[in-house]
Subunit: 446 residues, 2 copies
Amino acid sequence: MDHWPTTLPVKVPSTALFTDQYELTMLQAALRAGTAHRRSVFEVFTRRLPEGRRYGVVAGTGRVLDAVASFRFEPEMLDFLDRQEVVDGPTLDWLATYRFTGSVRGYPEGEVYFPGSPILTVEGSFAECVLLETVVLSILNHDSAVAAAASRMAVAAGDRPLMEMGARRTHELGAVAAARAAYVGGFSATSDLAAGFRYGIPTVGTSAHAFTLLHDTERDAFTAQVASLGRSTTLLVDTYDVAEAVRAAVEIAGPELGAVRIDSGDLLVVAHEVRRQLDELGATGTRIVVTSDLDEYAIASLAAAPVDAYGVGTQLVTGSGHPTCSMVYKLVARADGDDPEAPLRPVAKKSLGGKLSVAGVKWAARPVDERGVAEAEVIGTGEIPEELADRRLGVELVRNGEPVGAEPLSAARERHVSAREGLPLSARQLSRGEPVLPTRYLTPLA
Amino acid sequence: MDHWPTTLPVKVPSTALFTDQYELTMLQAALRAGTAHRRSVFEVFTRRLPEGRRYGVVAGTGRVLDAVASFRFEPEMLDFLDRQEVVDGPTLDWLATYRFTGSVRGYPEGEVYFPGSPILTVEGSFAECVLLETVVLSILNHDSAVAAAASRMAVAAGDRPLMEMGARRTHELGAVAAARAAYVGGFSATSDLAAGFRYGIPTVGTSAHAFTLLHDTERDAFTAQVASLGRSTTLLVDTYDVAEAVRAAVEIAGPELGAVRIDSGDLLVVAHEVRRQLDELGATGTRIVVTSDLDEYAIASLAAAPVDAYGVGTQLVTGSGHPTCSMVYKLVARADGDDPEAPLRPVAKKSLGGKLSVAGVKWAARPVDERGVAEAEVIGTGEIPEELADRRLGVELVRNGEPVGAEPLSAARERHVSAREGLPLSARQLSRGEPVLPTRYLTPLA
């Protein structure tokens, strides 16, 4: 899978304003107070998985690397911040030369995560790290939500391919990221041309009901489509009467017809009827694609039906009931002064009423039992115990401002399969339940 | 509210690939069959509102106008389509000069809608109209979902201002569109700087817990913030002990302190305690802002609490349980041949199993009773009856390819308030129920 060299139409020239205003006002106050350059460590984690979910899926890491690299305040943006009096002159001067020079470690893309997993650790001066909060969370919260839904659908679909078709149900650029995250989570293709263009994801698509309605008869439409797209095309057979359409489809395309698509009705019943009819007509190699309001449960319910591929839209791009993750970006440690060598002091919010955090810079490891199955998500601060060192999670993503963690999207996709396969079998259950791994802290809660 | 002249960083050079592949393969097949230039009318509508919702809110219309205007196939895009063999040479040639030359009518932005409302009507050749399906639906489905949630929250908040703070919970560019839709739905401000930059929406924000944790004491943090941002700033008082924080806040900023923000705990209880404490300290003008996981129900439950403003994130940008609308883009009429003057034949999908459409080009009107309250969403084809003509919905948005419906975002925001106020009082109920207006078809269902 190639990565297209051009970046149109989905790359923006700078990501620096995908930022909540308070990041900049905090920067201003810290610059003035002389605390802005204290070495700091921020951590991305989530306190819980969406209700009933067994595991989370990290997605968007590659996009985070792009976003950090293009986080620059262009003159027009500085003019805007100046005119709107968002921050003062000294802060604008500081922003004008902003480049992230710190380091980022994190769970690699496609890895699974659990409550408390230190998904990303960002280290540098307070000033340079705090600015990245909003865009890092936007990307990870959105993309991981879609990837988690995709992964569950992939489990339900087994060996049958899944096609992402949700662009029309979500923001036009969110759709591109959703197609990317779905690919990480196990989908094979997307209908979204921009996702093919930007990320090299295979694209698919043939025709909609409008094409049939445009023509004087359904046979005219099928004839036109086969003439143009070939016999291996997929004909949509539910505009009028499905049985008549299947008959016409095979008559026009011959038994070499690639596939028929069913987009309405009781898919279980209709798929069986269509399969029988296709077989009777000799079109035993013609596949059946279904695409009507599917989610992981509907896909699972079709496991015994003669369906060859699924197209999924709404429920995929909206995270199947959980359109966002609850990842947060919290300061977990910082130095007492400006000295870059000063020791880091663990810090955490302490107020009552929930939203507690665990102070300190963390490591995480996922030990396995004798069969190689993961046993727990173990999290600690300080030195990692020797017996856990070879099960350590997390890789270097940015070193002194330089992205070092870039990889082809296919690597993330493959990693997700292995990560999921390393979990206890209950990870494959779609029913609601607890996370399949317990989170164990080797360090007392702060 | 000014519209900033620059378009960085959230405008993309072309919207033409925010398109499902099947739009292009249908085009190819229709070009070859000689049916691509049949005059056609597509309609955007929804078969139902999200479960329990009383009305929908049209948002994104202004973005649709932008998207249509920048729907151009740049050479790099054509190269991509060629290399990937998405479409053939004649189709690429046709795409190279693509400009939408048709017309669009629709409900203006901020208007409310109901099941069956003809929200947008796109007329032109099949070829030029079919290509717009995906991007038009992406925009309207996303933006209208956020605007509907915003409107419910605005009803719940009454006169208290609402601030959009959800950027970190959704795709970074989805967030910009969400801030815009929230503004249409009744929010007053956003934390998202890109939304301020692109759409001129007022931006807000002061500090997060990280700022307090960066400093050696909470008092140091408050002192630094007040020194930099002034006494009118908002101090976040729930990092450690709220009562101590409020005492320190007023001591440091004086009774001129602008506001305190509470982001955790039982907001109802805490708001009362903080109000009492502020008043005792003489800070009677200091406002209380709350921001913890709010939705329209939580906002409503705080109606009697001494809260002055709400910041809303996750539930707003994810449509409060309904992150997308179910709007579709359906061919409802087309000519039998290429003659641009040929009469239009109503068409509709007829298959069993739901997903039925009503054929024909529609008008819609919303008659009112003697008190001026809307009575029904009346939809028909053909000539609109004289007695409904002055209650007709829908305006001209694009005429022969030229956008004519552009307006300031504030116009959509104001229109939404009037549209909602014209509905029966039950529109203000947050509880689940039926749409507040029945949809009446003056034309028999096709």
